[in-house]
Symmetry: C2
Subunit: 710 residues, 2 copies
């Protein structure tokens, strides 16, 4: 977090706890965006003064209206603006002059509408910055404090009723997605603390929203829908605030495929950052990323039931169904989600068979329809399962049983009993059924998933969430940028020398300017050697005929020296030649690649992957923002699809992945230090040897920032 | 289909249209499995005579009971057996003696219960075969004909009510999964024709069920849940019957991961075949395979609404939402499912903007909340979209609008209008809402999916289903097996000679027995050459030091000849040496692999994949049962993850994939002809050259069936 960055969430309390609200552009028509907030503030009973503002003044929805915010009896702390885009800057200036602390601009017609709108939006930004007033929107669905009935929104989700007050905070860039989330959360019987939709994010953004919810005592869990991150440091600072408060943040990041990102760009007028980079940032900063609004709600709901002490602690699950077929489907889905199915203790198996003689007591347990024939049988079986010494989650498949009045009674009785007798054990249900029956189960603190796939995604997500909540909060990289000698951009020799100074292994190499020196160098290095042309004008040395491999003696070196120079001269007659590089011919081991590029939002990003065309075609790489620790680099390497090859697959020796991790970590540190000068670094290939034998960067290329801009 | 195999489904009509039903082991207790069928036959009004059979005779549930099936007033066509396993064979013999046509054994305690039960099940098989009576089960949930109220089942799904009669036929190995499907289908308002659950499959299996539904005039669509296929030819014949009737078959194959397959084995006591092979069989024989019971029901429901002429014909979709955020999520999910998002015609875009001025008219269309503000606006926008010249599906995201009384009215009115004005256009909805509102929309013939992911899976599945319904029905491979000279198993030289006779390109090679002959051969072939030891006792030639590469002249060949033999003698002193192979040293191109193995159910299976360790670790292979046509082989090659490498990725020349396909097709034909003798064939590597340059098998190995058994 840079020193000049204001604290995320600063001043956002005024959106939620305002004394006095002006609605500018207020209307008598409750279906209009200037009518709806007035209507809902009255209908749901906001306790402070409500000031409709309209040039015609008079009375609006039974309240005295004022021609301007300058004319209200007291200064409102919050203003809701529902005037046309062109009239918004003037209205906002009035608010600033009146001492309004926070303003919500609901109107559209700004950056999303073209250049004129963009100019209007720039005016809003200027007014906000000049006055210190926080501005939410424009083109947004506003903010809601459920407990205090403070509704700065025209969301249709609130038209018929308010959600119950509770502990789930929702922050969404998209108003509709946020609104859908709020309504779905409420339909599950969960309470909402605050809702904030940031729209075009002229001033307040999703990071501010996360920070405000992190600081809000009513909020215990933060659900977030995000399209674009514009300020990396601010987002990371907000996520740190949430972690320091122990509040889980679950994010639905919208626009992950190219097609989706194209749609995102047209929607918000902002670049959607690289999906892999944001994924890495989320992972590092404790966020659970989900892939659908259903998973956001499912996992949010389950987490709210299970916090603080029943979130899954291991990847072990015990599966129980009245049917072998569903047991197999559960086993398939859970294994695919990365969960494991340990065997039950012998004693547990025996107790299950005592309760349900027809049960098959593997994992999944096929408990047959007998398990639900009587409440005492079900209770006995569930008790045996919850007494099992394993730490894992127990997942019970109930199919459509809740639709049967008889079975509903049996299940509810047994579940209530075991929930009371085993308050600390993690039990989850897969079931469809009438909404009231499902709510009776969740009221016991038992999460219910509607399908096997939802449960697998949910349990795996809850486990990751818990792991991330428990992980150490990473330190910010704070060191100042350092300059670098421009020589590193000249050729591979200089680039590798710089990497060597950063502690990265490179071959012992010499740059020479005549054939005799080449032979002496080769003899000092030891045969066989490689010769390579060194020129800042020849990036593709092999294509230029500028490389001679596997030279075994002095005559070969001598003739290769001449050939390499000749080829280079033919390939690029005007190229500046820095000399010829003499290097040992290294073989054996596995080829990897690593590199650094610049993310427009998150800065230097380090990448590591397997070498070769197969790996390249499959894009088998892992990324993280620089700098990364050796431990993080190791996790990146382990996450590669082809990691098995480094880990001794098919009779290969295990590779020195610790050395590879060290190389990646040092590369990332180097790139971070020189982030103002270096745009890109390529290390290709890195020769990774057998365990304990190290990793050597055989070729490297650095591109300066100025060049990258061209 | 072999001549000796009975027609699948033969005699199954008696399970559905029986005149007279005996329930053996009938009980007065309607919760017992012997009580429930009697209760339901009476309750739902089966029209024929019902004969409870119980040694105590007297009256059961108000009906006269009989001590044995031999004592009933008329001979029942169907018997339902609910007696203990040990008593079942005797009861079944009585049925056969009485002339019963079909028997359902509901009881468990057979092969799933251990060796004793397996012996009892073998008795049932014997009785069925000897009498010609068809036996369903044991350990099954039976059969139901919904229209005729014929309930040969104790399914809890039928406890409270029957599904409506309709066109969906359900065949399931697992009773619970089938029952869940039937109940879910009914909850969606779809009608069911017949239900059959095959359980342990002593006699009647899933293939019989598919065939019976294919022949049933009431059934228009077949939903199937399958764990194990025991008879390949029978399944394929049944699938052909369904295709000839133009009835789609949608299959949920249970047990796709190793963990799931392990659970499947314990559940059914039968081997679950390789998942990739069954996948290939389904693809070839027109089946749409789904991955969850929700997809089975969603796609089954949508297909029943859209058949016969509104199933998707192209991969194009037009997406519409009131929200940019949901538009992006739809775009993401649809692209990931392989669908495309073409631009709308300029005229269509203009008409949309006329209806909804705030709309952004890309694809996805971000139509803003304005689109649903009035029924006429929504109608105008939808009409513009459905008038668009594109052939694709229109998918409208409605979020939670149906929960709002006001919006529900607006949507229903507009949807009813456009459905009437555009009866042939494909329109689908993504929405949650009250069940009755969703049913109002589906009653218009418009499928409704509950989530974006379900819609993406659904639309992609419906497209594949339609493509498969339209594809030509493949001919059965019918040719008799041919013998082969055992020499092919001796060494690579003989194996390749046999492949060459089958029309597959191999290098010009010579087998020699002294160094002078090696030199002459090398000179005839042209330098550089390769020497390889030829011995049936040395499978791993490189490991044995039995290969010398890149020999450029006569002295090199001479010394290599001696070295190769020496190494082989040291590696395997007792090995029988057939000679030394002299072959040209071929380079360039891309390495592929192909091979044949035996599936225990489906026989010879041909595999093709990329060469090299990366491809091997990623298991990047495609399989299909032999024989495959060149066209099928080409599709297999195109389906490889790394196909891009063959198709000119990263500046590589395009590879001769037609030659590769020819090689695979000929290999498969060869393997099919010699299926009784050859267990496995390995062609590794195949050198695939640039387009038009061919494919050459550099090494090959064949393993005889006898050896494979060891």
């Amino acid at each position: 977090m840079s020193a000049s960055m204001p604290r995320p969430g600063l001043g956002l309390q005024h959106f939620f706890q305002a004394q006095g609200i002006a609605v500018i552009g207020a209307s008598d028509d409750v279906t209009k965006i200037g009518g709806r907030p007035v209507h809902m503030l009255i209908k749901y009973g906001y306790a402070g003064p409500i000031y409709p503002v309209n040039p015609k003044a008079g009375t609006i929805q039974g309240l005295t209206a004022y021609p301007s915010v300058r004319d209200t009896p007291t200064a409102p702390q919050l203003a809701i603006l529902a005037v046309p885009a062109a009239a918004t800057p003037a209205a906002l200036r009035d608010c600033a002059a009146r001492g309004v602390k926070a303003a919500i601009v609901l109107s559209s017609g700004f950056v999303e509408a073209g250049p004129e709108g963009a100019a209007l939006q720039a005016e809003l930004v200027q007014i906000a910055h000049a006055s210190g007033m926080r501005v939410l929107g424009p083109n947004c669905l506003g903010a809601v404090n459920v407990a205090d009935r403070l509704i700065g929104s025209f969301s249709i989700a609130l038209e018929e009723n308010m959600p119950p007050a509770g502990q789930v905070g929702i922050v969404s860039q998209s108003g509709n997605v946020g609104s859908h989330t709020m309504q779905s959360v409420a339909r599950r019987g969960m309470g909402v603390s605050r809702f904030i939709a940031t729209g075009n994010e002229a001033d307040v953004d999703v990071a501010d929203g996360i920070a405000a919810l992190a600081e809000d005592p009513a909020t215990r869990i933060i659900l977030c829908c995000m399209e674009t991150c514009r300020h990396a440091g601010k987002l990371i600072a907000a996520l740190r605030m949430a972690r320091e408060q122990g509040k889980p943040v679950i994010v639905l990041k919208i626009g992950s495929t190219e097609k989706g990102q194209a749609a995102a760009a047209s929607h918000t007028g902002a670049l959607t950052g690289s999906d892999a980079v944001i994924d890495a940032v989320f992972r590092r900063h404790g966020v659970l990323r989900v892939r659908s609004v259903e998973a956001l709600i499912d996992i949010g709901h389950a987490a709210s039931l299970l916090m603080p002490n029943r979130l899954p602690r291991t990847d072990a699950v015990t599966l129980v169904a009245a049917s072998g077929g569903f047991g197999i489907m559960m086993a398939d889905a859970m294994s695919e989600a990365g969960l494991t199915l340990p065997a039950l203790a012998a004693h547990t198996q025996q107790r299950i068979r005592e309760a349900v003689p027809t049960a098959s007591t593997g994992n999944p347990v096929d408990a047959s329809a007998q398990m639900s024939s009587r409440p005492d049988i079900l209770h006995k079986m569930l008790t045996a399962l919850l007494d099992d010494p394993a730490e894992g989650a127990l997942i019970l498949f109930m199919s459509l049983s809740l639709y049967s009045t008889r079975l509903r009674g049996i299940y509810l009785q047994a579940l209530a009993q075991v929930r009371a007798s085993h308050p600390d054990r993690l039990l989850m249900i897969i079931s469809q059924g009438p909404a009231d029956a499902v709510e009776q189960i969740t009221a016991l603190g038992i999460p219910v998933f509607a399908s096997i796939d939802a449960a697998a995604t949910g349990v795996a997500g809850l486990l990751r969430l818990n792991q991330r909540l428990g992980a150490a909060i990473p330190r910010d990289a704070e060191s100042a940028a350092q300059g670098i000698d421009a020589a590193v951009f000249r050729n591979e020799f200089e680039a590798k020398r710089a990497l060597a100074r950063a502690g990265i292994d490179v071959p012992h190499e010499v740059i020479v300017h005549d054939a005799a020196a080449a032979v002496s160098a080769a003899e000092a290095i030891g045969y066989p050697v490689v010769l390579k042309i060194a020129s800042e004008d020849i990036a593709h040395k092999t294509e230029a005929g500028g490389v001679a491999l596997n030279l075994a003696d002095a005559p070969s070196v001598r003739s290769a020296y001449a050939r390499v120079l000749d080829n280079a001269a033919r390939y690029a007659p005007d190229a500046r030649i820095d000399g010829v590089l003499v290097a040992p011919m290294l073989r054996g081991g596995t080829e990897m690649i690593a590199g650094v590029s610049q993310d427009p939002v998150f800065g230097p990003v380090v990448m590591v992957g397997m070498g070769g065309i197969y790996a390249e075609v499959l894009k088998d790489v892992a990324v993280q923002t620089a700098p990364v620790s050796e431990q993080e680099a190791l996790a990146m390497i382990r996450s590669l699809k082809m990691f098995a090859i480094l880990d001794g697959a098919r009779g290969q020796p295990k590779a020195d992945i610790e050395a590879a991790a060290r190389t990646v970590a040092r590369l990332s540190e180097f790139a971070y230090q020189h982030r103002d000068d270096i745009a890109e670094i390529d290390m290709n290939p890195i020769l990774l040897r057998a365990q304990g034998q190290g990793a050597v960067v055989l070729d490297a290329l650095m591109i300066p920032r100025a060049a990258a801009v061209l």
